[in-house]
Amino acid sequence: MYNLHLSAEQLEIRDTVRDFVTREIKPAALKADRLDVQDRSLLTAQIDAASQLGLRTLALSEALGGAGADALTSCIVTEELAAGDADIAGVLSETSRLAHLLFDRAMTDAQRDMFLPKFLTGDRFHLAFAGAESDTRLGVNYHRPVAPEAVVKTTAVKSGGDYIVNGVKPGVANAPVAGLFAVLADTPGRGAGVLLVPADAPGVSVRAHEKAWHQGACGDVTFKDCKVPAGNLLGGDAAALLTGADAAGRGIPIFQAMNLGIGRAAYEAALDYAHLRVQGGRPIVEHQAIATKLAEIAIKLEVARAAIWQAAWASDHPEAVADRSLSDLPLQTMAQVFTAEMMLKATKDAAEVFGAMGVMRDMPLQKYVHDARVCLHSGDGNSDAKLRIAEVLAGYRRATNGAMAPAAE
């Protein structure tokens, strides 16, 4: 049955988060020095407060101490957070997403016992996935198999009861704030595996990216003769689970929800300003040229949200794909391409409504444009994403060894 009603619980979470963003995040996020895209620091106190609200453990199951949010709810929350601050949304949604994948789906009881208590009690304990490395983009490999050794150069070599990890992972989301890394590594003889590596393990070092060409926190992680117990190796096909390869482009569009939140922030600012700014004897919202622009932005937001929600709902209800209610195409990847392109246009149009104030570094609009650009070029990137969709259309089947999945999605 076709039903677009959110549950009472989803509506309540949305209102709660929206209220939290208005009260706690926006006042800090909109300060002039936070709007400088070249030099913005994480709003740590607000991330802590959000953690206490349960947003860090949102997708973790209730049985394990989280809120058990499904994909759609996670997307709703992420959009709300990103409308306040994309960095906060980035950090929290990555941790929440990984909390579900790691604790609910990938870990053994013993592994959970080792890491869950620390995770639950530490508001600043975040999670990061150190996945694909260089040369893993689709590009030249479109419709061609990739040699596995080109994908993962980091190695995990068994030595007695331990694994010794060596390698460098560039641009890992959440790296500077992570308490625990899930590390994709080549385990000789066994192929790609995922190891749990605490951030304080000897031999782990993180170089945080300074300039904000990313959302949230990002850094390069180096593992140098890093020793972890053999019991830290995740079982099953954890590589496919964490890289999203097993979802085949039908995963959770949480990054797209963040992108949408950025567009919404720009739209709301532009709409407010269009009421206040008077030119030509009337508020500019009454001028056709501005009105049309605002309408176009609103259309982009609504259609992008529809694509994101559909992809999220499909992820929550695989049976709807199985019974042919929903398309079996890579809906998440499709939502990604559309949202990223539309939000850049939307933020640019919103900035234009502000005239010269749209390019001032102490005003938010230039930040929204920058943030939308970052989304457009993050993770998969739209060029690769289109090729990935095309591979599905063409019926090309890629081995689900995690080889070709985007690093940060």
Binding site: G139, H214, G355, A356, M360, R361, S383
Partner: protein
């Protein structure tokens, strides 16, 4: 049809290219990276460029300038902008207003202002129109007499007393002489009630306020101007009292050098950014490898690069045609159209360049980031809906 450049045009182009590559490009990213509003500007490059003629390029030869034609000016702006769009604009802003002086000032005013301008390597010009509550209203004045700029000028004997403020004024923080639009008659609409004044920096009662910190065009300074009983001699009125809007363009447009130059300036400058993006994209695609192959081997990269060059060359044709038409005194709406078009092109080309780089991961280098930040400036300067409607109305008036 003759697309050949004269040897003089060619030689200015080469001189500009050399100066851009040897002097501007090495400092471009360094200046852009300085975070404060007034930090990126640098007198050293202005002085160096001035000695080579790039500050006084548009001043007629009889007044000691170089008297170059519009084609030369377009070529030079493009070459300088290829190394740094904002630095190119910092030079050409002076040409814009030296056109205005040549076209509208009396001999006596030229003697007082044009001569010192030519003689001093640090003499920079600006023009104050925009105010906090009057941007679009100055460009497309509505009939409402209250709309538009509010800076008030009242005559007292041989002086005019100016009160009010201007915002976002280019070169305000560094200029020595400014053209200031002020209302001399509040009982009539902007078009009839505005007078243009020459206001030297040391005018009593006149001061510069804050410098705006922009995301793009960082070298190029925009600031506030504050007038508190500023006293300007009547001898500094440009043209007739109440004649400012007619002098500098107005609805019909293109009546003096300042206005027709301004449209050409923005599209020629955009072309420089496009040239930079194209050249860098090609080099990057041919030298950066992914999975053992250069990026250029990918069809998508080839298509992106094709589009970048296609749009850039189309823009070049338009820019050069407009410059040539100006030299031939064929006044059409093409300059305005080219300016609007350059907004679309410079943004699409720089965004395509990002796509090319994106094929190798999401981290953009400083240079790429600067090109898109600079290109966004066109959104509110050359390609906003007011600038487009203004050109449409010129077209309608001419139809």
């Amino acid at each position: 049809m003759d697309f050949n450049l004269s040897s003089e045009q060619r030689s200015w182009q080469m001189a500009a290219r050399k100066f851009a590559e040897e002097e501007i490009r090495p400092i471009s990213l360094q200046r852009d990276a300085i975070p404060t509003a007034d930090g990126p500007f640098d007198w050293d490059i202005i002085k160096k460029g001035s000695k080579l003629g790039f500050r006084t390029l548009a001043v007629p030869k009889e007044w000691g300038g170089h008297g170059t034609d519009f084609v030369t000016q377009a070529l030079v702006m493009t070459e300088l902008a290829k190394a740094d769009s904002a630095i190119s604009k910092a030079f050409s802003q002076n040409w814009k207003w030296s056109h205005l002086i040549s076209a509208t000032c009396t001999e006596e005013q030229k003697e007082r202002f044009l001569k010192p301008f030519v003689a001093d390597d640090t003499f920079v010009l600006g023009k104050g129109i925009t105010e906090p509550s009057a941007g679009s209203d100055n460009r497309l004045p509505p009939d409402d007499i209250k709309a538009g700029l509010k800076l008030k000028a009242e005559r007292k004997g041989d002086e005019w007393i100016l009160n009010g403020e201007k915002a976002f004024i280019a070169n305000a923080p560094i200029g020595k002489l400014f053209f200031i639009d002020a209302r001399t008659d509040h009982t009539v609409p902007l078009k009839q009630g505005t007078t243009l004044f020459l206001v030297p920096r040391d005018t009593p009662g006149f001061r510069i306020g804050k410098v705006f910190n922009k995301s793009g065009w960082r070298f190029y300074q925009n600031g506030e101007m504050i007038f508190e009983n500023a006293r300007v001699p009547h001898a500094n009125v440009v043209g007739d009292v109440g004649g400012a809007v007619r002098k500098t363009g107005g609805r019909g447009g293109d009546t003096t050098g300042g206005d027709i130059f301004g449209d050409l300036e923005l599209c020629a400058n955009a072309l420089g950014i496009c040239d930079d993006a194209c050249e860098t994209a090609m080099r990057y695609a041919k030298t950066t490898k992914q999975g053992g192959q250069v990026l250029f081997a990918q069809q998508n990269v080839q298509l992106q690069i094709n589009k970048m060059f296609m749009l850039t060359e189309a823009l070049r044709s338009f820019v050069m045609r407009v410059a040539w038409e100006h030299d031939m005194k064929i006044h059409s709406c093409n300059a305005g159209l080219a300016m609007n078009y350059s907004t679309d092109v410079v943004q699409e080309v720089t965004e395509l360049y990002m796509e090319v780089r994106g094929a190798q991961g999401c981290v953009m280098d400083h240079h790429t980031d600067k090109l898109v930040r600079d290109s966004i400036i066109w959104s509110h300067l050359a390609g906003d809906s007011v600038q487009r409607m203004k050109v449409a109305r010129r077209l309608a008036a001419a139809a």
